[in-house]
Amino acid sequence: MTMIFGIPIQALLGQLLVGLINGSFYAMLSLGLAIIFGLLRVINFAHGAQYMLGAFVGYLLLAHFGIGYWPALILVPLIVGLASMIVERLALSRLYDVDPLYGLLFTFGLALVIEGAFRYFYGVSGQVYTPPSQLSGGTNLGFMFLPNYRGWVVVASLIVCLGTWLLIEKTRLGAYLRAATENPILVQAFGVNVPLLLTLTYGIGSALAGLAGIMAAPVYQVSPLMGSNLIIVVFAVVVVGGMGSILGAIVTGYMLGLAEGLTKVFYPEASNIVIFVIMAIVLLVRPAGLFGRDA
């Protein structure tokens, strides 16, 4: 068997694939964060809670209304997105004029409240969400046993990331959004409803977190802690990619997933810090991030 650094190449391929799967979640989550930061200049600390909320809404839909995974894929982002838009209208929009720190503090507090509430009612051990029957089981790829559901996660996240990128960069709505952040007063003068655009943006970013949540539900325990375990890593992804850079968030998400996967093979103890080591190096060499424009 061919070996690389003492690891059989087959095992390495398996680990790379697993890294790619985790990278898919990082990419979807950091994409939402990057959109919100890029267009609203809000550092959305509630993103992890919105991701957790997505998983829980999916679980509750199934447990109380018998609504399965496929409809939930549409419903959950809508519900999470709408709830977030209400929060944005009622509270967050009032903070745009003050120091960005207030937005950060507000969303951080919101995350603590949401997590605390779910912890109170559901405990931390979590709930189980079984994958849909069409995607249960797995495929033997020769070098590893790939659960079908995880294969689906990679494909779906690529579609979502590409779709969102096209929406922002290539459509009229995306052009409005980008213009509204460059110069809101001028855009408003053209008769575009800028506050509505901002609300919509926050909704889309949060909906992406909700979507990642429902996609993660069959893989991880649906637990109130699932968001806070991930949010810091996702922030690191956004920082490495360049704050606000959408393409940067996507590419960095997959890249760091792979880097983490490799670390888990060669030195597992470091697997939860490798992303931050990379972040520190990137900040030293390119403070604006890999894909960020130098301010």
Partner: protein, 401 residues
């Protein structure tokens, strides 16, 4: 004359004092310090605090005619935070004893402080045998279970069933190492081998990478030397990667009723595990568990029941000693047998280890389970003397041969 009567009164008071009950600051205060927001919040958490309060209420709320108070705090699994709280409790809040102390690294840190401050601590939530080994304390007690008991229980059972090659997924801190080493040694002593191990950070959401390594190792048994949400995620994902279907067995080395409940019987069925308590064991445990359920809407695991037992025994020791002074209470705790709903004929070694029977359980299938929380078949009772290290062999310097 006046002077004489004053002097005699003083004399009377002085001679009467030792006979009178001595309770420092007119109150007995017990602190429950554990993880209430992290991966172990269901394993112990505020549910242990409820158990402690229940123990105090059942005791009548008073000891030596002085009120008993229970306070609690969240140490977030961080030894530095736990140490700060422990110092504050002992120094300024007149706390007499700290209990529960989930997470081994935290328990070791707080036991160090308790020794320094000459205060009692009773650990129910943490697992490492270090607490009653090299780092034992004259005022430290270890109540519910430890890594050795888990290794003997689960490890022994699986080796007997032919699981002679092991691969470990180990939480990267004191508890994980201790559990991995002792289970590995136990398996080796029965003729088994350990083919590999991988260390993962605490609170890892994704185990797939580690599971692939375990799968590739070809070991018959994959030992999960972790706890709480980590173990639950590992088991769930092992099913996803076809590990059990592929013929490898999972050994959840520290898994309690709380985590079985979270994982659900579909995913947890067939698991072998070791606990020091099962609510559906006898009338006494059932009666306690039903009362506990009314308060908390959940059944107690060994940490919760163990905390109830530890608080009760501590109060009994104060009553018997006639004071809450540390040396006297510690002496009683070492000498008194433990007979309650948690332990029958439990005894405390010189190293502070409470030696009691442990139970080897198998998780029922969804069909076998008759009612909510009906989760275990008790496969075997492991006598305390087999489950725990003999105090004389524990490496605790306090043990006189």
């Amino acid at each position: 004359m006046k002077l004489l009567s004053l002097a005699s009164m003083a004399l009377m008071a002085a001679t009467a004092l030792p006979a009178m009950a001595q309770v420092s600051d007119e109150k007995v205060k017990i602190g429950i310090l554990n993880d209430q927001s992290g991966v172990y919040a269901d394993f112990g958490g505020k549910w242990s605090y409820e158990a402690a309060k229940m123990a105090v209420e059942d005791y009548g709320g008073k000891v030596l005619d002085k009120p008993i108070e229970v306070i609690t705090a969240d140490h977030q699994n961080k030894p530095d935070i736990a140490s700060n709280i422990a110092r504050q409790w002992y120094d300024t809040e007149e706390v007499d004893a700290i209990m529960e102390l989930t997470t081994s690294s935290v328990a070791l840190a707080v036991q160090g402080i308790s020794t320094e401050k000459k205060k009692i601590n009773i650990v129910t939530g943490a697992a490492t045998t270090e607490l009653t080994g090299a780092q034992c304390s004259p005022y430290g007690f270890h109540w519910a279970y430890d890594t050795h008991a888990l290794a003997v229980g689960t490890g022994g059972a699986l080796v007997e069933q032919g699981g002679d090659t092991w691969f470990f997924l180990t939480a990267d801190y004191a508890f994980g190492y201790s559990l991995e080493e002792q289970t590995g040694n136990f398996a080796k002593s029965k003729g088994g081998t350990v083919v590999g191990a991988v260390r993962h950070p605490l609170a890892t959401p994704d185990f797939s990478s580690f599971l692939l390594q375990a799968q590739a190792s070809g070991a018959k048994v994959i030992g999960l030397a972790n706890a709480g949400l980590d173990t639950a995620n590992a088991i769930k994902q092992a099913a996803e990667f076809g590990i059990v279907a592929g013929g490898q067995r999972l050994a959840a080395l520290l898994f309690t009723l709380a985590e079985v409940h979270g994982l659900g019987l579909d995913a947890a069925q067939g698991l072998t595990l070791t606990e020091g308590f099962y609510w559906d064991r006898d009338d006494q445990s059932r009666a306690f568990a039903r009362r506990y359920f009314e308060r908390t809407n959940r059944m107690p695991n060994m940490v919760h029941a163990g905390t109830y037992s530890a608080v009760t025994q501590y109060l009994k020791a104060i009553d018997k000693a006639g004071t809450d002074e540390t040396e006297a209470v510690a002496k009683e705790l070492h000498e008194m047998p433990v007979n309650d709903l948690f332990a029958a004929n439990g005894k405390v070694g010189q190293n502070g280890r409470m030696i009691h029977d442990m139970y080897l359980m198998q998780v029922k299938t969804p069909d076998e389970s008759k009612e909510p929380w009906d989760y275990y078949d008790v496969l075997a009772t492991i006598p305390g003397d087999e489950a725990y290290i003999k105090p004389s062999e524990s490496g605790c310097p306090l043990v006189t041969q």
